[in-house]
Point group: C2
Chain length 264, copies 2
């Protein structure tokens, strides 16, 4: 089955939810696909200095402005989206991503492996690593940014049947894009890393994000790697069923051949 | 502590144990280091067509010609070695590697994740992934070639305290060298991949090995990557204690921060 997937490399404006949603709407409104992945915390920007900034960006997954916009786009364009946002769940705040489907259904992942000062502003994700059905029943596993450094994250998603790992990110370290090729190969899954670009400052803090969003095939081929600093949307066709074949050679199945009795 | 490690990229002659040992002796005899890693099955070559070929190359770990040579070299040069060989253990044959120390001690790893037709010629390793003390008490974990594609292999070695992962290999797929950078980063360990070079044929079978043996730091830096096709020995100094620091940022410890309750 041909499946049209997209990756949106984006630069949000810090602490300006309305502006960011409007810009995303402009970029996405005329693009039909099956699944489009956007970056982590793309509604809010990344660098927080105070908890009240986080609070000001936080929204309920089911009822906030982000789910409202993406449900609208999803229905209009018959497209599933994965988008990072600040989640408010009973006044606890999570670095979350939602999968929004054309039928209006929403699935949420709360980031488990928090990076750097995120630990001061977000709760640890408490929903586990899960795989959800996107448009056409394709099985999409969600993880966010720094989850990449834990092979157990992508592995768990693959073991739960993911054909595509949707990976919203705000990357600042230099290794992830190459590591995601390894994640694709070791699990024989597609990976879509949607990274942000640009420099962001808040008071005395400053970070530069690395761009190079990418789509990697289940056989470890870089289908597309975007530039370092261009805000852009790239759409291509893949075949999700190829990720159901876990064989690296005719004699090697990366999942079935795991010798779990020797693993810690 | 400064620790002199080496990686020996080599081309063995298929099914000629004596020739291969002699050539290794010539290359290594005047080189003093702390630890030198040689490729997988470097005593025998790689492509087997019949079980009797495997048998003709097989030797006991403690008593064979390989341990004899490397005990001699180890004592003479005050150097630990890791070297791949065909192990005979009660008429079962393993794709093994031995760590030989200057005090004459020998530790064995039997390859667990067998690649391709190795499954027809070798038993699956039954000793687990283990960490042993090499010269100066440095903790060395052993894995062989295709074990790279299973993140659980390097992870298990890191959890067992490895500072260096010694990784003899006979690589034919294109991903391992980049993946080993990921293995270093995700575990904050040094990795030394000793690959072989050259084309090998046996009857109608042919393989080309990819060279590019490498030493990667515990912080994910390629300290050295060798050429694609040169038989050579490279020695450099590292600091194994750096691998005891598992922090990627001041707030992120790759091992302590594992959220194991969510991993399958």
């Amino acid at each position: 089955m041909k499946y049209k997937v997209g990756v949106c490399q984006f630069k949000p404006k810090l602490l300006d939810l309305e502006f960011n949603l409007k810009k995303m709407e402009n970029i996405l409104s005329d693009v039909e696909a099956d699944l489009i992945v956007l970056p982590e915390l793309v509604t809010s920007g990344y660098i927080f200095c105070e908890k009240k900034e986080v609070q000001s960006m936080a929204e309920k997954a089911e009822e906030g402005p982000t789910s409202k916009l993406f449900r609208k786009l999803s229905k209009k364009n018959n497209t599933s989206y994965v988008v990072g946002f600040v989640e408010d769940a009973n006044n606890k705040f999570y670095n979350s991503a939602m999968l929004v489907n054309p039928d209006g259904e929403i699935f949420v992942y709360r980031k488990i492996q928090l990076f750097f000062e995120e630990k001061f502003f977000f709760e640890y994700g408490d929903l586990g690593f899960n795989v959800f059905k996107a448009k056409k029943g394709v099985r999409v596993g969600l993880m966010i940014c720094f989850d990449w450094i834990y092979p157990e994250a992508a592995r768990t998603l693959a073991l739960k049947g993911a054909q595509i790992i949707a990976h919203p990110a705000n990357l600042v370290l230099p290794w992830c894009q190459q590591a995601m090729i390894t994640r694709s190969v070791e699990n024989q899954v597609y990976t879509i890393t949607a990274n942000r670009i640009g420099k962001e400052t808040n008071k005395d803090k400053e970070l530069t994000f690395t761009g190079h969003s990418q789509i990697v095939s289940s056989k470890g081929k870089i289908i597309k790697r975007l530039s370092e600093n261009e805000e852009t949307l790239f759409v291509t066709e893949i075949e999700p069923e190829l990720a159901d074949d876990k064989k690296v050679t005719i004699h090697n199945d990366v999942l079935k051949d795991r010798m779990t009795e020797y693993y810690l």
